[in-house]
């Protein structure tokens, strides 16, 4: 007995170990049959509704008769790796480098955009051929026979990677962002039923709110924010004000300003932090940030929600994905209203000069998944992507999760009517995140700019632009190296296309040759020309004093001369 008493802890530890060993030894991991086709899908959406909707859609996919026909009696299992957002970058890095990444991976968070681009180039499979083919799961619907890309509301534009000239991802949903507000608190503090829709009016209301105290004697915070919610303001308001940069920096004339183009524009002096659009973007940000709670840069999204739910803040900007949870969290205490981002008016004395129209909302689809080259069952993974983006699958997925469907004709959940995106107007042309070094410095300086009033716009401009121009070159060169690394992959694909054209005996050889030449043009020749222009811009300076959309005076004169000559020829009587 004495022995037992003195050794009781040890006995207990051994007992616990034996128990755990028995549990582990007798447990069957996920009951996966040996011949099952397992598709793993990695993402950072930890909301229960997302996990549930993927599970439900996965089951429906496995039970689909088409799958039964294609894969016989082999079980199809869709498993999820739902990883917290904060650890997603490290997780995906180790999975990719260890070549153990899931079959399908959500792309966009955790790593800087240039790094994702490099990853897509190295570790993901092109989905271009899939985008050209009809979705078999749409048979019997209005989308039958339509190429996959045309079945999306944005024609799958979000899945197309300009730098790689390939379709790399398939989007499951669409998302927009709005400002949510506490209706009762707004009424109590300002007497307003709805907040003003213009920027100055909105700031005035914020000022009014910030001067009032709650029952405990604390001042109200007009806008609940965090490092995460700050991004909403950027996408929703600040970046839209930089649309004027398009004419100065869109060197390849694709309608957007990439990070490399932005760097080239800064390097050549076409743009600077004193350019009106850039300057106004940062000054407007500073105006709004005055009304955030102190220290928001060090907070996370749930901290902002905490403040809003405690009724200590009136506004909070966030997206469709949070709408359901936010309303659920606050339904017992107050009513939530939804408003669009307040834009400066065109006649605004300070900011009106950059107001070239209303705010465009990215109609592009989101929640994008790419197929990794480590997939053990790439065919099944492709089928799963097709199933989720079919009319039926997409409706089912988004009705459970409560998001806006990405597929044309899929019904919109009624609660999301306020979130329908606006498809015309100004969009962002401000892209400073060039690569690792500049991304880190931008985030550091920008958060300092947000949190430290003594760090003025001029301080910020001097500090960041110096670093950007000096060290951005290294990031830019790394991007160029990455681009060179894609050439091999392109060559392989083009060789395949050429081989198909050469060997075709079914009468489609001419069509295949056209396709091949077109691909050579779009994937090799034109990008090479664009790159060459950019390299020359960055290394040798500007070739022309004005932006890419502006004609040189000589060109104008030449064009005018040619037009005159044409008119002369046309009249026929001048000679």
């Amino acid at each position: 007995m004495k022995y037992f008493k003195s050794h009781f802890p040890l006995i207990l530890i051994i007992a616990a170990f034996v128990w755990s060993s028995v549990v582990i030894a007798t447990r069957r991991v996920a009951e996966v049959p040996k011949d099952a086709l397992v598709i793993r899908i990695g993402h950072w959406q930890l909301e229960a509704s997302v996990r549930q909707s993927i599970n439900e859609v996965g089951k429906a996919f496995a039970a689909d008769p088409r799958m039964k026909k294609k894969y016989g009696n082999r079980a199809i299992i869709v498993m999820q790796d739902a990883i917290p957002e904060g650890a997603y970058g490290q997780w995906i890095t180790s999975q990719m480098m260890g070549e153990t990444a899931p079959d399908l991976v959500e792309i966009g968070n955790g790593l800087a955009a240039p790094i994702w681009l490099a990853y897509q180039n190295r570790y993901f499979v092109s989905l271009s051929s899939m985008a050209d083919e009809p979705n078999p799961f749409n048979e019997g619907t209005a989308l039958e026979g339509m190429p996959l890309r045309e079945t999306f509301t944005d024609a799958m534009r979000s899945g197309y990677v300009e730098e790689l000239q390939q379709y790399m991802t398939v989007p499951f949903a669409r998302a927009t962002i709005r400002i949510f507000y506490n209706k009762e608190l707004l009424r109590t503090l300002t007497g307003l039923e709805k907040p003003p829709t213009d920027f100055r009016g909105f700031l005035k209301v914020c000022q009014e709110i910030s001067e009032q105290k709650d029952g405990r004697g604390n001042f109200y915070t007009p806008i609940a924010s965090s490092a995460y919610n700050m991004n909403m303001w950027q996408y929703g308001l600040f970046d839209s004000l930089t649309y004027a940069n398009l004419r100065l920096a869109d060197f390849n004339r694709d309608g957007s300003v990439g990070n490399d183009e932005f760097f080239a524009a800064m390097k050549t002096g076409a743009l600077s932090f004193d350019s009106p659009a850039v300057r106004i973007r940062l000054l407007v940000a500073r105006e709004v940030m005055k009304y955030f709670q102190p220290g928001f840069t060090g907070l996370q999204r749930d901290d902002a929600v905490f403040l809003f739910a405690q009724q200590r803040a009136v506004f909070i900007p966030t997206g469709t994905w949070d709408a359901g949870s936010l309303v659920e969290q606050t339904k017992e205490t107050f009513n939530v209203g939804v408003m669009d981002f307040p834009m400066p008016l065109p006649d605004d004395p300070e900011y009106g000069s950059v107001m070239l129209g209303p705010r465009f909302e990215d109609t592009r689809t989101g929640f994008p998944f790419g197929l990794t080259r480590f997939s053990k069952h790439p065919e099944v993974a492709r089928d799963f992507l097709l199933y989720v983006t079919s009319l039926k699958g997409n409706t089912q997925f988004n009705s459970i999760v409560g998001w806006i469907p990405s597929v044309r004709g899929a019904p919109l959940p009624p609660a999301l009517k306020e979130f329908v995106p606006r498809s015309q107007g100004m969009y962002g042309c401000f892209n400073v995140e060039l690569g690792g070094k500049t991304v880190v410095r931008w985030r550091q300086d920008y958060s300092k700019f947000q949190s430290d009033p003594s760090f003025t716009f001029d301080d910020f401009k001097t500090d960041f632009s110096k670093f950007y121009l000096e060290h951005g070159l290294e990031d830019w060169k790394e991007q160029q190296r990455d681009w060179r690394r894609t050439i091999l992959k392109n060559e392989q694909q083009l060789s395949g296309a050429r081989g198909a054209a050469m060997l075709d005996s079914g009468g489609e050889d001419s069509a295949l040759w056209v396709k091949y030449r077109s691909a050579v043009m779009s994937r090799q020749v034109m990008p090479e020309v664009s790159r060459a222009i950019q390299v020359r811009l960055v290394t040798e300076g500007p070739m022309r004093p004005s932006g890419p959309y502006e004609l040189l005076p000589e060109a104008r004169a030449k064009a005018a001369g040619a037009a005159g000559a044409q008119r002369g020829e046309g009249s026929g009587g001048a000679r």
Binding site: P9, A16, A48, I83, Q90, T93, L111, Q329, G436
Partner: protein, 701 residues
């Protein structure tokens, strides 16, 4: 115990002793050394961790050494390190207070209470500090400052010393969001900075002080302060030095705390970027694994140099005059280098005249005062007193040391005479009571702070979100037991995984480390010093850059997504600390025991089984518990290695719960509380054993 030296010629008679170290070294070599060497190899490559691997020679190092941000990160590390050393003081104070409790029951009770907070996962403590204390609008720190009026003092301070408006009337300071305050937050968090391990280690040392010394001090009329400075502090220096070494190593090579508090960018303007965080960014944001490996190599060199200096100062009394002079010169040169580094670390010499008031204050503090203090500390005062001041005073005043001693004797006699009076007894009693109350009051106040995270964890676990938003820190009714039911469903399936990996890894660690420690402590064989330095090298090396090679190794060994991987990695990483401590312990065992065993013809195995193993029970218990708690709370490796939900340990399971965008605080906290229960149970059951062992000299320092 002096290790037995076995020359190469006698190796054929003793080669079997290598078998004691081989399992331990094989484990460390495979899971620690191989990735570390691979990482060192890649430090001369432009390596992205995968397909890009271009030789660049010394480019990574030259770029790194020319990077102003890298040097700035050392400045941050230096500031945090200095504060970390100051933060060791409360643990010493608490240990002394507990040690001076007359009741052994009270001492035991306090020890138990100080051990319990050890089990709270660090993630929770950090979360609570961020969300409850540092939150700007309604956090406890700001509430305290405003309610006590102390904030007005800070505003006055700001205005008087022109700190640039950090504290402005009517504006709440943003501790985590303001670049000028975030460093303070990184230093301040975790108040009262009383780690259980530190307190118990100090208590172990204090427990070894003979009672006679205290009686002699009483007779000499030593007051509480003199007893501390002249008796307890010198005898605690062993444990203080041990903790100092660990603090310095952690400050340089660890980024976990700053990462959790300030994020990977190191806060606004990157102001709290420490070297290890800089390396983490290189690896995972910039994808420059080769450059990150180069940072790792530089950091290892820095840590090893610091360790060498600390060892020198720790053994100060044992050094001869020449060695002392060498260390002094080395220290003064380093102080001068530090001074120069402070001046030039921003790439240009700061012009004092053009600095603003805020920078001027920093300039003075870190560019002049601290290096000055280092110089003062290192100056050979003893030599000056003995050789210059003493003779000078003797020749001018005629008073010599003998006279002074006589004066001291007279004072002692007067004190003894006073002790006989009734007034003296009455005064001493009142003073004693006052000291007792203040001692208990101090310890209880520290305990209250230490238990605050645990209290909040339990309180919040009974709330729904609406109640949490309205009253985050007080109990609300009805209690939401359903949170615990929800947490039960989430936690229980993964509990078996955690129990299995923790116990297996702990057992493996202790078993292999004890055998390895015997090898390193008992004999000095050809190659043993080299192997020992390899282990020390690994202890000093930041492990972040090794993560990718290690992960690839696990895949090659077909261990990815298995619990075995967690056991092996846990045992390998725990092995180094265990070897470090156990080697000292075995070396301190009486030499006579081994000599007697040698005479009796006992083999090494017999000596190991009959002498070392039975005597190592206490320290194995302590190391086992420390390792088990660390392994239980580990989440980074499991997150990377384990894929299947069924195999996840409980911490990762909880992390996934906390990662939800709108946290369900009740179930989350219930989950954390539930995950802490097995370890708390283990502590309660092993408490007597653990506390006794730790205080009976398990940690030798």
């Amino acid at each position: 115990m002096t290790p037995k030296i076995i020359p190469f010629a006698q190796l054929k008679y003793h080669w079997t002793i290598y078998f004691f170290a081989i399992p331990s070294l094989a484990l460390v070599g495979l899971f620690m050394f191989y990735p570390a060497m691979l990482s060192a190899f890649h430090s001369v490559y432009r390596w992205n961790g995968a397909d890009i691997n271009e030789f660049v020679g010394k480019e990574n190092f030259t770029t790194l050494l020319g990077d102003a941000e890298f040097w700035r990160s050392f400045r941050v590390s230096f500031i945090i390190g200095v504060w970390n050393i100051f933060k060791m003081v409360p643990a010493v104070a608490v240990a002394v207070c507990i040690h001076r409790c007359k009741s052994t029951r009270a001492q035991f009770f306090y020890r138990i209470l100080f051990v319990a907070p050890m089990v709270i996962p660090p993630l929770i403590v950090m979360l609570i500090w961020k969300s409850f204390f540092f939150e700007a609008t309604n956090g406890y720190l700001n509430r305290f400052l405003f309610s006590t009026g102390f904030f007005d003092v800070l505003v006055w301070f700001d205005q008087t010393f022109q700190l640039g408006g950090i504290f402005k009337a009517g504006s709440k300071p943003a501790w985590m969001g303001d670049g000028r305050l975030i460093l303070f937050a990184c230093i301040f968090w975790g108040l009262p900075w009383v780690g259980s391990f530190a307190v118990l280690t100090h208590l172990a040392k204090l427990g070894g002080i003979p009672r006679e010394l205290y009686e002699a001090a009483d007779l000499d009329g030593a007051n509480w302060w003199t007893r501390f400075t002249k008796l307890e502090l010198p005898l605690m220096m062993g444990s203080i030095n041990l903790l100092l070494v660990l603090v310095v190593i952690d400050t340089i090579k660890d980024a976990g705390m700053v990462l959790a508090l300030a994020g990977i960018e190191g806060g606004p303007g990157g102001v709290v970027t420490v070297p290890a965080l800089f390396m983490l960014r290189k690896a995972f944001i910039e994808q420059q694994m080769g450059a990150a490996c180069a940072v790792g190599i530089v950091l290892t060199a820095v840590v090893m140099t610091l360790k060498k200096i600390l060892d020198g100062t720790a053994d100060w009394q044992l050094l001869n005059r020449r060695e002392k002079s060498r260390y002094r010169v080395m220290g003064m040169v380093m102080a001068l280098l530090l001074y120069a580094f402070m001046l030039y670390s921003d790439g240009q010499r700061p012009k004092f005249a053009v600095l603003n008031a805020h920078d001027r204050a920093w300039f003075f503090l870190f560019n002049a005062i601290l290096p000055g203090l280092v110089m003062v500390f290192l100056f050979p005062w003893g030599w000056v007193r003995e050789r210059i001041w003493g003779p000078m005073v003797a020749t001018t005043t005629g008073v010599d040391a003998w006279r002074v001693t006589l004066r001291q004797v007279a004072a002692r006699e007067a004190h003894l005479a006073r002790m006989g009076s009734a007034f003296y007894h009455w005064r001493e009693r009142v003073k004693g009571l006052g000291l007792t109350f203040s001692r208990h009051g101090f310890v209880l106040a520290i305990l209250a702070f230490a238990y605050l995270p645990m209290y909040l964890m339990v309180i919040v676990s009974f709330k729904n979100n609406a109640e949490f938003y309205a009253h985050p820190a007080t109990l609300t009714f009805p209690l939401h037991w359903e949170n615990w039911a929800q947490a039960w469903d989430a936690v229980i399936p993964s509990l078996a995984n955690s129990v299995f990996t923790t116990t297996a890894s702990t057992a493996l660690t202790l078993f292999l480390a004890l055998a390895g420690a015997y090898f390193f402590a008992r004999v000095r064989m050809p190659g043993s010093s080299f192997l020992w330095y390899c282990i020390l090298f690994l202890m000093m090396m930041p492990t972040i850059a090794n993560a990718i090679p290690l992960y690839r190794l696990l895949i090659d060994m077909n261990l990815s997504n298995t619990l075995s991987a967690l056991i092996f990695i846990g045992a390998a990483s725990g092995q180094m600390f265990a070897l470090f401590v156990l080697r000292n312990f075995v070396a301190d065992l009486p030499q006579d025991l081994f000599e007697a065993a040698d005479i009796d013809g006992a083999s090494h195995l017999r000596q190991m089984l009959t002498i070392v193993a039975p005597l190592s029970g206490p320290i194995l218990g302590v190391l086992g518990l420390i390792h088990a708690v660390g392994q239980w709370n580990e989440w980074i490796m499991p997150l990377i290695v384990i894929r299947d939900a069924e195999r996840l340990p409980v911490t990762v399971q909880l992390l996934r719960m906390s990662g939800e965008y709108i946290k369900l605080w009740g179930p989350l906290m219930a989950g954390y509380a539930m995950a802490s229960i097995p370890i708390i149970l283990l502590f309660i059951l092993c408490m007597r054993l653990f506390v006794r062992n730790l205080t009976e000299g398990a940690v030798k320092g």
